[in-house]
């Protein structure tokens, strides 16, 4: 890794941790930062420990992990397709995962807006994974042209498959009980409200297992950027590696979606910004991961407290509203640049 990349990664990681600490200290009960740090080091009073460790830390940890997973997934997909627009939110992975998860929330719901136990802990992540994989499979199979996945078609076909998955979701919301529909709608906006450790676990598993694997492909990823012909002449088995990385990217995005809903644009924006700042030819994985974590905890801090700070009301917004409000203009900017490039 070059020194610029290392410095930026460390900087983003440090900022993400600072924002996470701030997020642990603010809320309905304000805690001094010193108390938060004391609790995290193993001390502190019982009441403080309860608020920090049981209520706020699972949420903040889920946010950090989800940010990492989305950003790495986006970085992999963008590198594979050599298209900055090919993020899991655009090519249908998130919509497929959403359809799976909403199906569990609505169909396994008790009508009280809560699902618990096995259905929630295993059912939602599993359904999200299957939905995401199915969407990837369909999009991938349909965009193959002359034996190769066509980069431009992936995006367009992804938009079509996402539309189909979204109409399934709309139908599930209608057939469900109003409380289940409310829970699903909150989840669909991309939310970290009332996360528990069981929400963070699948994402943690995916990140811990798959991020090192993805890192092992770093050299191949750099070769893929040069084009398939050059890459294969450098000894990269293009088709096999592309498939492996596609699966890794899908699992990461699907697990992140299971944990916090389809938080918009993190997977698209974080790798792109990381690539610009490091001045590399492709999105660097670690820098993108730390930046993704920073984006999500920062957006969640704003979503959770923004309306109170602005004196509008005691409401919390889902984190996805904030990332969409910031990410959509950036996407429009990217499209504008691509159009001018033609």
């Amino acid at each position: 890794m070059r020194s610029r990349t290392v410095v930026l990664s460390v900087l983003f990681a440090a900022l993400a941790i600072v924002i996470a600490l701030v997020s642990l200290s603010v809320g309905t009960t304000k805690l001094p930062l010193a108390d938060v740090v004391e609790v995290l080091l193993g001390g502190g009073r019982r009441g403080t420990r309860l608020i920090v460790l049981e209520l706020r830390l699972p949420r903040v940890a889920t946010g950090l992990l989800v940010g990492i997973a989305f950003a790495v997934s986006g970085a992999l997909l963008q590198t594979l397709s050599r298209n900055p627009l090919a993020s899991p939110d655009i090519v249908g992975v998130n919509s497929g995962a959403s359809a799976g998860a909403v199906a569990v929330i609505v169909l396994a719901g008790t009508g009280g807006g809560n699902i618990s136990g096995f259905a929630a802990k295993v059912g939602i992540p599993l359904a999200a994974l299957l939905g995401g994989l199915l969407a990837t499979l369909i999009v991938g199979a349909l965009s193959i042209q002359r034996g190769m996945v066509d980069a431009g078609r992936v995006v367009l076909i992804g938009v079509g498959i996402a539309a189909a998955a979204n109409s399934l979701v709309a139908w599930l919301l209608v057939i469900g009980d109003v409380n289940d529909a409310g829970r699903a709608a909150a989840w669909l906006a991309g939310s970290l409200n009332s996360r528990e450790w069981s929400d963070a676990l699948p994402v943690l598993g995916a990140v811990v297992l798959l991020l090192p694997v993805a890192m092992m492909f770093n050299r191949d990823l750099s070769a893929l950027v040069l084009g398939d012909d050059v890459a294969s002449s450098l000894g990269v088995r293009v088709a096999r590696i592309r498939l492996a990385l596609l699966v890794i990217a899908t699992v990461l995005a699907a697990m992140a979606t299971a944990g916090a809903g389809p938080i918009a644009f993190v997977a698209l924006v974080a790798p792109q910004v990381a690539q610009r700042l490091t001045r590399m030819e492709r999105p660097p994985l670690v820098t993108a991961a730390t930046l993704g974590a920073l984006f999500v905890v920062l957006a969640d801090l704003l979503a959770r407290n923004g309306l109170q700070w602005a004196q509008i009301g005691p409401y919390e917004l889902p984190v996805g509203v904030v990332t969409a409000a910031c990410g959509a203009p950036y996407l429009l900017h990217l499209i504008g640049r691509q159009q001018k490039g033609r």
């Binding site: 939110d89 367009l156 709309a170 139908w171 889902p318 990410g327 691509q338 159009q339 001018k340 033609r342």
Partner: protein, 342 residues
């Protein structure tokens, strides 16, 4: 030369065959209409249908046909006509094979406006929804078109992605509002799925003025579109006011889409489907294409509603969902064909 413009020069079938094809399409629409009256959870024969329409005595079958099936079928015909024509007009004006209200972000603009209206208490009846949806639809149409044509003009990819980006942002705002208010969510989710179920003749009556004006503008615009297809310079040379033609087109698209969205909620893919099927049969002459697309749109919506009623059993699958699931493969087909050279 824009790839989509080449189809405009292709030869249309001779008048006799075009007339025969249009008559055949109308016959298919009438058959679909009759099927929609006859089929459902209870099958009604020709005798029972005739009895209900001609000699109503208030029997169960009479009530089912007159109060339930006939109104929703009329609404489906009217709104299918609107959305089929609106989509085809859009494809003509933008010279873009993917132009469609659903993809353009128009529906999400209308949706945000309707939710804002519900929240602020401006919207109570469907007639007040029309104005609000119209405003939202027009702003979104204009905004997406402007954003997508920065630089070199709107390419199919640019348009689809700009629509997706705008839809994501407006969707996030919509969900933020919906989540803060459970009552709004409960009204919104039934509206958002896109359905003709339970829409009575009063709904059709309320949107009728918009439909009539929109259709008149579309008829006027069809001839202008044929000239515009020759290129802006040639059209201006032939004495066409390009500005006026564009404004009339935008007005027709906005009115027809808003009427559709207000009456039935966002129903996607209908314009895409109608425009492409009509182009296959009738070639590129807009004076034929536009009425044909209207008939095809009406037939498609009646059939989608009927299919959703038959497969759903006790609970129906809404027409919007049926079209979303049927429409996505069609979208993929259009993308894969060379009509959308990337």
């Amino acid at each position: 030369m824009h790839p989509y413009a080449t189809t405009v020069r292709s030869v249309s079938p001779p008048p006799v065959r075009r007339t025969a094809a249009l008559v055949a399409l109308v016959v298919v629409l009438l058959l679909a209409f009759a099927a929609s009256l006859a089929l459902g959870s209870r099958w009604l024969g020709p005798g029972a249908l005739w009895h209900a329409l001609a000699a109503n005595t208030g029997s169960d079958a009479d009530v089912i046909v007159r109060n339930l099936r006939f109104p929703r079928t009329v609404v489906a015909v009217l709104i299918g006509l609107c959305l089929g024509i609106a989509g085809t007009l859009m494809q003509g004006h933008t010279r873009n094979a993917l132009a469609e209200p659903g993809i353009f972000g128009v529906s999400s603009g209308a949706a945000l406006a309707v939710v804002l209206g519900l929240q602020l208490g401006l919207v109570e009846s469907v007639s007040s929804t029309v104005w609000v949806a119209l405003l939202g639809a027009l702003i979104a149409t204009f905004g997406v078109q402007q954003l997508a044509s920065r630089g070199t003009g709107a390419t199919p990819v640019g348009l689809a992605l700009t629509g997706a980006a705008v839809a994501a942002m407006l969707g996030a705002l919509t969900s933020a509002i919906v989540l803060l208010d459970a009552d709004t969510l409960d009204s919104y989710r039934f509206w958002a799925v896109g359905s003709v179920a339970g829409r009575g003749l009063d709904v059709a009556g309320q949107v009728l003025p918009f439909v009539v004006v929109g259709l008149l503008l579309a008829v006027v615009n069809a001839r202008d579109l044929d000239m515009l297809a020759l290129g802006d310079d040639v059209a201006a040379g032939l004495g066409l006011s390009i500005r006026r033609a564009r404004l009339v087109g935008l007005g027709a698209i906005g009115l027809l889409t808003a009427a559709g969205v207000a009456a039935c909620g966002p129903i996607g893919f209908l314009g895409l489907l109608s425009g492409h099927v009509a182009r296959r049969i009738f070639g590129a002459r807009n004076t034929w294409l536009i009425p044909a697309a209207g008939v095809i749109g009406a037939t498609a919506l009646v059939l989608a509603d009927l299919v959703g009623r038959l497969v759903g059993g006790a609970g129906e699958v809404q027409a919007g969902v049926v079209l979303g699931i049927v429409g996505a493969p069609l979208f993929v087909l259009v993308v894969r064909r060379r009509a959308v050279a990337l």
